[in-house]
Symmetry: C2
Subunit: 265 residues, 2 copies
Amino acid sequence: MKALEKYENRAKKINSLLSIGLDPEYEKIPERFRALEFPQFEFNKFIIEETHGTAAAYKPNAAFYESRGQQGWRELEMTAVHLREHYPDIFTIFDAKRGDIGSTNEHYAKAIFDELGFDAVTLQPYLGAEALEPFLKRDDKVSVILCRTSNKGAGEFQDLTSGGKPLWQIVAQQVSKEWNIHGNCMLVVGATYPKELKAVRSIVGDMTVLVPGIGTQGGSVKEAVEGGINSKKMGLIVHSSKAIIFSNDPANEAKKLRDEINSYR
Amino acid sequence: MKALEKYENRAKKINSLLSIGLDPEYEKIPERFRALEFPQFEFNKFIIEETHGTAAAYKPNAAFYESRGQQGWRELEMTAVHLREHYPDIFTIFDAKRGDIGSTNEHYAKAIFDELGFDAVTLQPYLGAEALEPFLKRDDKVSVILCRTSNKGAGEFQDLTSGGKPLWQIVAQQVSKEWNIHGNCMLVVGATYPKELKAVRSIVGDMTVLVPGIGTQGGSVKEAVEGGINSKKMGLIVHSSKAIIFSNDPANEAKKLRDEINSYR
């Protein structure tokens, strides 16, 4: 089964477009986990236990593991194995925002797709498709390309216009028309930019868009879903992390958000 | 001492602008190392032993370690410690090409500057200065921003023109005029694009440029040095990896390249 179908099957099966961040920022996880041998892994296991019924996808961000060195990387590996073994139908995205020259990307692709075994990875567009080929050629996996990022200063380069179009639109065009020959590409567009999300939807047809930036970053769920949903009421992965995982009741927060998303579909 | 001065002091002391890659691609390192407990670290130690007299900088690329999981990350840490303890005056660049939103970059900066202890890191410009602030604010460290990458397909987005200027020029302008308030920025320009390198030099004044792409990627040392050197016969880090570390005589290859670089200064 291709990874994109894995996401769609999962989303349909549990009627959820929700992705949950596995971002166990060491300083923020409850003290009872910090006392354990594998604090980040145990915290992730707890979050997964609480939320797996509503999670179409899980998305660990590399930075929170790398900041704990080899120990963090080990707990990332343990998390990946845990997901594969116990929740094989949940889509997994490694949020690593990688991007190097082709010969180097071969090694990143091996690390992320084959060693860690994630279904998808987030990627930087700056070096172009030729450099990203080691990811793009993997028709069994998904490449999620940054298009319009959720941060406040995203426009510095992304809003530069060329031929009358901003860079983020050109990225959306290139990825949907040129890069997606295996049907294995997605785009990242922040919920903090609802107009841009709507414009991206009109450019890319039914292609799936990963939407971070709701919750603590302030994006509106309503605008994200109404502007981003595709013609099949699908094509969105709505992502939340801190607002769920560091809440007092992750299971309930996840359900509330899933329901809120569905209410606008 | 600021990290930029560290590079300049080192380069002057040994009269070398050479950076050497610590990219111990597991399949390519000699068999005698693969039999050891820490093959990548032992290979790096050997390369450092052979070449430290000519190395102004060492630049490990993250991909070659990540593809070996926690073991690779451990050997990366061991390499970083080894360099700090035994060669504290050699400039170290972690070639990780990172770039996320600000709150996440805090964790990458911690991982790379504080835990691993590198002097510099390579970064993606796509999210803009606001996102990269956790790196840029570190005036004790160096942020090396991708400008014109060495790969064949680099132009897909980098050559898009806005207001008559290609994106790579706009990145060079922004970084040199706006981002570099602490004097801690460098740019990456591939030796495979000598005209672009010359143009970047004319935009950025005496700012230091990291130039990969000679050796196996085919860039000319002569054109890189003549086009890229600054008004003080400095301002360049000329990088080579495979052609040195996988040669039969790394010490001699490094010396030859150092001398070739100096012959064009």
